[in-house]
């Protein structure tokens, strides 16, 4: 029988005149922060992920993630960097707001190996797409996409992609003269192959531009520095 005022290794409790082990969290010795609330947990982040149209087929899988790590075992980014799909899934589930300024998730290759192997049907590849989009919207992630702005302009104007022109010099250095020759003679080579104009029709390009305007792509391009940051349709 313990004396009410006896200090059972707990001076605080003893001070309060209570028995040493009556009000103490018995787990507090494990780690001070494990059982604390995360004061800045973002419900917004969690809700944005769960309600994103692209997560439509993966919400149940996301909610039932068992942290098995299959996503990470096959991930090419995890193989060569500190990026871990398993960690992203865990942090997304608890609404960790630091995801909104996390640079590691920009290493994801969008190869979908994680999605194809998840035994629950989750998709960290899609979660990354959602979070990267949020980062770009907030401005934080602009630094990760602004190098493609000039390519985006070309796409907006012509309605078609291709290897981004601004990288041509680097690619030419890597690929050498054979590739340069092909690019320089591409039109005649295509003609010889019996292929027509590679760009969409004028009508199609116009329709595409309307879509790009109405869904916010032109604004997005301006926000990442296309056209020197000046909206070409607002002059």
């Amino acid at each position: 029988m313990t004396d009410k005022n006896e200090d059972n290794g707990n001076p605080e409790a003893a001070e309060n005149g209570r028995s040493g082990d009556a009000r103490v969290n018995p787990y507090s010795f494990i780690a001070a922060d494990v059982f604390c609330d995360r004061p800045d947990a973002s419900n917004d982040l969690f809700e944005r992920i769960v309600n994103d149209p692209r997560m439509h087929d993966h919400v149940d899988g996301f909610l039932s993630c068992i942290q098995c790590g299959i996503c990470t075992s096959g991930c090419p980014a995890a193989r060569f960097s500190d990026f871990s799909p398993r960690e992203i899934a865990r942090r997304a589930l608890v609404g960790d707001p630091t995801l909104l300024s996390d640079d590691s998730l920009w290493y994801c290759f969008y190869c979908y190996t994680c999605q194809s192997r998840c035994p629950r049907g989750n998709s960290v590849a899609v979660i990354n797409q959602v979070i990267r989009g949020m980062q770009v919207e907030s401005g934080y992630g602009v630094k990760h996409v602004e190098m493609f702005a000039a390519w985006g302009e070309q796409f907006y104007e012509k309605g078609m992609g291709g290897t981004p022109q601004i990288f041509f010099a680097d690619i030419a250095e890597v690929c050498g003269d054979k590739w340069k020759y092909f690019i320089e003679h591409r039109e005649e080579i295509r003609e010889e192959l019996g292929l027509g104009d590679m760009y969409p029709s004028k009508k199609a390009a116009e329709e595409m531009q309307t879509i790009m305007d109405k869904t916010g792509f032109r604004e997005r391009l301006v926000s990442i520095g296309a056209w020197g940051g000046k909206d070409p349709k607002k002059e």
Partner: protein
């Protein structure tokens, strides 16, 4: 090795070859070879100038918001159905997955409504009819559905040529349940080539590993991107293959155009070349390597293989 790809009935009903930006700009021979094969397999097809880019590169470099991609996909489906050629034949696996994913999302009434609000501005509507009529098929599926025609059309044997498949991630992993065969050991390309006498590689360690392109990664993180590619090249060199066959130009660009620099930096030899599946099938059926397969666009020199199979002698069909 007997074919493991399940037989499917011939795909019929109006095919639209869905032009790919990277095929058009980097490997146009893959498109020309596809048309040449379709002609021989009696596949009725069109190429439609009103079809636009799938936006895969813009979307996967995180520039383009998904609603833009989805609405453009919806528009392209409307265009194909309107042209009475609703079977989209994708030359690029990214185009395939982007359009299939869009179709999945467009099946939800709320998202279809928002896409149609945008399409109304251009006088179009993604209706139930469009949704039920449009088909998203990888070109290789359409070719496989006609594979019984192949033995009778072979003009150049490929005996002794060892091929391996690089299974495009966006075909095998985004919708693995819809893959024709085993998404973890995809064999369709080798099964297509089998009648011509190729030595099949089948499964190999790293077969399911991503090519390394990773859209933004090949430009922004080239060291990491090429480190991934090197794992595959190194493993395939151990398998002693002659040709790695491709089903996506993202992969083909990554492998074919970076093969030499990786070899140089890693100080390793990878003595094989890269071709799209359609190019090699067409070569086996007698197609002209230049006028049909466009081999000039390839970075790895395919001339030795062409010599081996007799593609540099005699008249082409």
């Amino acid at each position: 090795m007997a074919p493991t790809t399940p037989d499917i009935p011939p795909v019929t009903g109006g095919v639209q070859i869905f032009r790919s930006c990277l095929i058009s700009t980097e490997y146009p021979g893959a498109e020309a070879a596809t048309k040449w094969l379709f002609d021989r397999f009696d596949v009725e097809y069109i190429v439609n100038e009103d079809q636009t880019c799938c936006t895969g590169l813009g979307y996967y470099t995180d520039m383009m918001p998904f609603p833009t991609t989805m609405a453009i996909s919806a528009r392209n489906s409307c265009v194909a159905v309107e042209a009475d050629h609703p079977i989209q034949s994708y030359l690029c696996s990214t185009c395939y997955a982007v359009n299939k994913k869009s179709q999945h999302v467009l099946a939800v009434p709320e998202y279809r409504r928002s896409a149609n609000e945008v399409l109304a501005e251009i006088g179009r509507e993604y209706t139930d009819t469009v949704d039920e009529t449009i088909q998203h098929r990888h070109t290789l599926e359409i070719l496989w559905s006609r594979h019984h025609s192949i033995p009778g059309l072979i003009k150049r044997r490929l005996d002794g040529i060892k091929v391996a498949t690089h299974p495009a991630c966006h075909y095998c992993k985004v919708f693995p349940d819809d893959v024709l065969g085993d998404p973890e050991n995809f064999m369709l390309p080798e099964d297509l080539l089998e009648p011509a006498g190729v030595i099949k590689t089948g499964n190999y360690n790293e077969k399911t590993t991503h090519c390394g392109a990773g859209f933004r990664q090949m430009f922004v993180n080239p060291a990491m991107s090429q480190a991934v590619t090197r794992e595959k090249l190194k493993r395939l060199a151990q398998e002693k293959i002659d040709v790695l066959v491709h089903m996506c130009p993202n992969c083909a660009v990554q492998f074919d155009r970076h093969h030499d620099i990786i070899s140089q930096v890693a100080q390793e030899e990878y003595p094989f070349v890269h071709l799209h599946v359609q190019q090699l099938v067409a070569l086996a059926l007698g197609a002209d390597p230049d006028k049909v397969c466009g081999v000039v666009s390839h970075s790895q020199d395919v001339e030795p293989i062409l010599q081996r199979i007799g593609a540099r002698e005699g008249v082409s069909v």
